[in-house]
Amino acid sequence: MSEASRPRAWVALSQPLVCGGAVLLLCGAFFLAIGREPLSLLWLIAVSAFGDGYALSETLVKTAPILLCALATALPARVGLISVGAEGQLYFGALLGTGFVLMAFELPGYVLLPGMLVTAALAGAAWSAACAGLRAGLGVNETITTLLLNYVAALLVTWVVFGPWKDPLSQGWPATRDFPDAARLPTFFDSRVHLGLWLAIGGALALHVLMRRSRWGLELDVIRSNPRAAQGAGLNFGRHVMITMAIGGALAGIAGIIETSNIQGRLQSNISFGAGFSGFLVAWLARNDFLRIIPLSLLVGALLASGDGLQMLAGVPSSVSLVVQALLFVGVLLVNGWYASRRS
């Protein structure tokens, strides 16, 4: 993981290729095992993710929340934290963001939209800061608390859409009333691709520059790699835990409210197709490098988008794309580990 062990050129070239080959082999074996013809199914995945303008736009739509959640994982990882809470932060952001929309329903867009985004960001940050506070103050392992709070946040959303915020006009369907058009972010290319994608990419680039060039990035590196030296230099571990977790939570919260307002149009109990967990794995595959996170998020977004296409075109259940996603991570972790052990 350290930058010191710089791979030689051929390794840098061959590693991604071997990774890709391993993942394709794993997926091929899996397709064979469930009685499908591997090559045609792989081709179908590629076509339904990138085949035409519509497919590409749906891929980008799925990429946005994954990218934001990957940032929410990678930033705390810079101080050595393992937060798996993006899913919960996303839900809680969607929850309170929706609350703001329902309260400010009639207000014009220039109040409604920023208010909604800020509320969601603060909500995600607060949800994340709860675990950060437990870690910084009492040393409670943040991986476990963030994981458990994911379920609590999802249950809270389920509660409001079945209960107090349920739209009486929606018959049996548990959801809030439809968001007003003023609460939707601008879209591009005549598709569902929204401003959130550009926010996410901009966030990734900004964090990349900050980590490389700013004093803050340097401080985080020192805390992670040498806690004792950090203490000697007067760097406050707890403060940086709170800041990185809160910023991460804010990004995930924004992902949640944008999915709710732009993609689903109302709050319902299933918001995210597991974007929080995909984001976690993307961040780990990218080794928390903010630049590498962007193409990897696109790749996983493509996989998930292709799931819908597969279901329609080939009658393949959507859970297949979940398995393929898992095989992607297994294959890459395996090959990366193999290369790392050869180097050392």
Binding site: N141, L156, W284, A340
Partner: protein, 305 residues
């Protein structure tokens, strides 16, 4: 006497809810003792539940179903063993991949099982206790998996603390270098621990589907595996303490069900947050009281990085 009966009914309801969790915790406790944390138990539970339910539906024999669930739960984490042991991948990333794999596979292969009926495990009846306050309702609710799980607590405790292999496993988690120089293979011991943890989590999943809920649904473990990983810390990696820790979750779930049945107007969804919040609360208390005392050294290196 009514009060005692209600207490007995509550106790058994907590125990039944705790049983799948207890089985997973016993396995994860052994795994973590050797210095490996496995978040994949959540997916292993799901695969164990799906295979256990499917095998019961196909064969008509719930015992066969439980055995099949154990086998499936044992097979899946070989991926974790390969990634963590062979490729030295990050344990949290690897565990999440296993979880996702288990979730996807069980949803895919289990879709035809939704709504199927299965045969029940035999009832346990002790007629002498019918009508006895507290004990009567307690025993009336007992099921075979509850008894097996309770029996496994002392077995695992004895095995870990009193046998030679148990000592080897603990040494692997505390001082792997010493274990290695004593001629042991920490890598092999950790792989074994991951597989045993898998077997017990598969059993836990099967107990959940075949005995406790008697249904199969996608994602039905609902975080129990992750709760188990957290509660193992609460139990300070001591198999004997897994029972009270599991009962904490079971008690919170039983309480939320009891409150609903009693017509409390609080939403069921809100009440369902209770077990998770209770787990976090007691985890926090554990950290306040004991900090890092008792954490296997190799595991501490993984968790604190």
């Amino acid at each position: 006497m009514d009060g005692l009966d209600a207490l007995g009914a509550f106790a058994i309801s907590a125990l039944r809810s705790a049983t799948p969790l207890l089985l997973v915790m016993l396995g994860e406790c052994l795994t973590q003792r050797t210095g490996v944390i496995n978040l994949g138990v959540e997916g292993q539970m799901l695969v164990g539940a799906m295979v256990g339910y499917g095998a019961t539906a196909a064969s008509g024999n719930p015992w066969l179903g439980l055995a099949a669930g154990c086998a499936a739960g044992c097979a899946l984490p070989s991926v974790h063993g390969l990634l963590v042991g062979g490729a030295r991948a990050n344990q949290f990333g690897s565990g999440l991949s296993v979880w996702m794999l288990g979730f996807g596979l069980s949803a895919l292969l289990g879709s035809s099982l939704v709504g199927r009926q299965i045969a029940a495990l035999p009832e346990i009846r002790i007629e002498a206790l019918d009508g006895v306050p507290f004990l009567g309702p307690l025993v009336a609710g007992l099921t075979p998996t509850v008894l097996i799980a309770l029996a496994l607590v002392p077995v695992v405790g004895w095995w870990l603390y009193r046998t030679r292999t148990g000592l080897h496993w603990r040494a692997t988690g505390e001082v792997p270098e010493a274990a290695r120089s004593a001629g042991l293979s920490p890598a092999r011991i950790r792989l074994n621990a991951i597989l045993v943890g898998g077997l017990l989590s598969g059993f836990g999943g099967a107990a959940l589907a075949v005995d406790y809920t008697r249904t199969w649904a996608e994602g039905m473990s609902a975080g129990r595996g992750l709760v188990a990983v957290g509660l193992v810390i609460v139990a300070r990696w001591n198999p004997w303490l897994t029972l009270p820790a599991a009962l904490l979750f079971g008690g919170a779930e039983a309480l939320s069900l009891r409150l609903q049945a009693a017509g409390v107007t609080v939403s069921a969804h809100l009440l369902h947050t209770l077990p998770y919040l209770a787990s976090i609360a007691v985890l926090t208390l554990t950290y306040v009281r004991s900090r890092d005392a008792g954490t296997p050294a190799a595991l501490k290196a993984v968790m604190d990085r």
